[in-house]
């Protein structure tokens, strides 16, 4: 009757690994650009106000303390999870699902335009049936996720690489295009009362990347 005992011990080890590896990861937590994003700053402002009874008078004070705490947590997390990394590599046991833990109120959209002899025209807009260049690719859920992550902390190298790929694809898809413009449209989602009044969110364009199509042909 040794095997049932060993099996029980192994099951408990698995349970422990699942619990430890489900601890919130520190990758995004330690990226300053995530803290500095609009949604990050919004959350900090609200929490600083909520915790004002602890003596926080400004968001900056709260943010500084929370950053120190995050560094301590990251160090502790590293020590706690280290013994289980072998198991994570083997079994893929981890839990990264926060499921909309911090819904994005400052979203971004990827917009693609091309210049022809007649001037600029849009070729891709999210949800548009008319401007649907490379739509199957750009609307794939993994692509959307990758693009959406720039709203929580812009990463230039990753964005540049993807913008270039889009530029190249557009250059091949539209022989008449002289240039392709890839950019991010960022805005603040409107509260329900404004949407009901028929208002549209007003945003701004950022991170423009212009590609001459001749370089891809």
């Amino acid at each position: 009757m040794v095997w049932p005992q060993i099996r029980t011990a192994l099951i408990f080890l698995h349970v422990l690994a699942v619990l430890v590896l489900a601890l919130p990861g520190t990758g995004r937590m330690l990226r300053r650009e995530v803290w500095e994003s609009e949604i990050g700053q919004h959350g900090l402002r609200v929490w600083a106000k909520r915790l004002s009874w602890l003596g926080y008078e400004t968001k900056d004070e709260f943010e500084a303390d929370l950053w120190s705490l995050t560094l301590v947590y990251a160090d502790a997390n590293d020590r706690i999870t280290r013994p289980f990394r072998f198991y994570r590599q083997l079994a893929g046991v981890r839990q990264g699902w926060a499921m909309f833990s911090s819904p994005q109120q400052y979203p971004i959209e990827l917009h693609v335009d091309m210049r022809t002899e007649d001037g600029w025209e849009p070729i891709y807009r999210p949800l548009s049936d008319e401007h649907d260049f490379w739509a199957k690719q750009l609307r794939h859920h993994r692509t959307r996720k990758m693009v959406g992550r720039h709203a929580r902390g812009f990463r230039k190298e990753r964005y540049d690489g993807f913008a270039r790929t889009i530029g190249e694809q557009a250059a091949h898809a539209y022989p008449e295009a002289q240039a392709v413009l890839v950019r991010i449209y960022s805005y603040t989602s409107l509260p329900p009362e404004d949407v009901r009044r028929g208002l549209e969110p007003q945003g701004k364009y950022e991170h423009r990347r212009l590609f001459r199509t001749s370089r891809f042909r």
């Binding site: 049932p4 005992q5 099996r7 029980t8 099951i11 408990f12 698995h14 349970v15 699942v18 489900a22 919004h42 959350g43 609200v46 929490w47 909520r50 590599q89 083997l90 893929g92 046991v93 981890r94 839990q95 990264g96 699902w97 926060a98 499921m99 909309f100 833990s101 911090s102 819904p103 109120q105 979203p107 971004i108 959209e109 999210p126 949800l127 199957k136 690719q137 609307r139 794939h140 859920h141 993994r142 692509t143 959307r144 996720k145 990758m146 693009v147 959406g148 992550r149 190298e157 990753r158 690489g161 993807f162 270039r164 790929t165 989602s189 509260p191 329900p192 009362e193 949407v195 009901r196």
Partner: protein, 335 residues
Amino acid sequence: MSTWADRTKSAWMFWVTLFDRKEPATTWALFRIAVAACVLLSLGLIAHAQMLDVLWVSQEYGGYLALEEVPFLWFTLGPATSSTVHALHAIAIASAVALLLGVGGRLVTFCALQTYLSLTRLNWDTVGGHDALISNALWLLFLCDGSKTLSVSCWLKTRSFVRQVNISAWARYLAVFQLVVVYTWTGLQKVSPSWSSDGDFSALYYVFLDPTWRRYDLDWTAHVFPLTQAATIVTWFFEVGAWLLLPFFYYRYTRERGGRLRAAFNRFDLRVPFTLIGVALHLGIGILLNVGAFSWITLSYYLCLWQPGEIERFFAKLRSWGRSVVTRRVSPAHG
């Protein structure tokens, strides 16, 4: 001292006995089929979008981002070239098909797991929580073979796709535990103001407006804002309260011991409201939001909430209901 030692020994033996339990293989086989279908959906979607070469191939070989070498267990398979990624993708698809059919046992499950892990670990920007749920499920299916029934290997042995065979129940318990951990942790991480009164319980409303997720124009949700608020509150309580399933199962298993709390937990079947809310939540997500295999892999775990006998009775009732509907429709014509 002896009391403490006796109690520890008794508690330990409780778990040894629990994990030694056997049950018919039906639930676990259905879980196998559902998980394999989710692997195929996840890998099929990226192939259908023709994004393998963009997202999972390194920049030097045509992708958009410089990626590290392809991970495989504790080794690497060399650079993320198009041929390596396509080969891994093909092996993963073939393994998932074999898993769906129930051939190859643990070997194909391990193969599906490792190839899926290799592919999804290539680019962390494109990984979702559902990838972790899929790999967790594949690991459990590797630990406890799910192809004993409802499988081609069963047919090869018995010339029937179904057979009465018992397997260990602990793997199903671990799947339930995984589901509980997933929900409870995600609930506890929902500290954003929009999940609380400070943010007017607007979390799901803003999710519906986010172009990262929404499948269609969902601006109309502004007109049913109170409904989205109610859904936000229900979702939060549902997730944070998911841990209650653990005492529910414990008290159900030890119902003969008595006690008020045990009696309270045994008074009604907590799994019914949990499943109804969860299915509604995930169907809503699946219909309104573009999140890949997320809803379907999560719902696959729900199968494990139910004992094989309960699932068999459910399908028997469904069959009998279907027959009665057919009979009612046919009889007037003949009558």
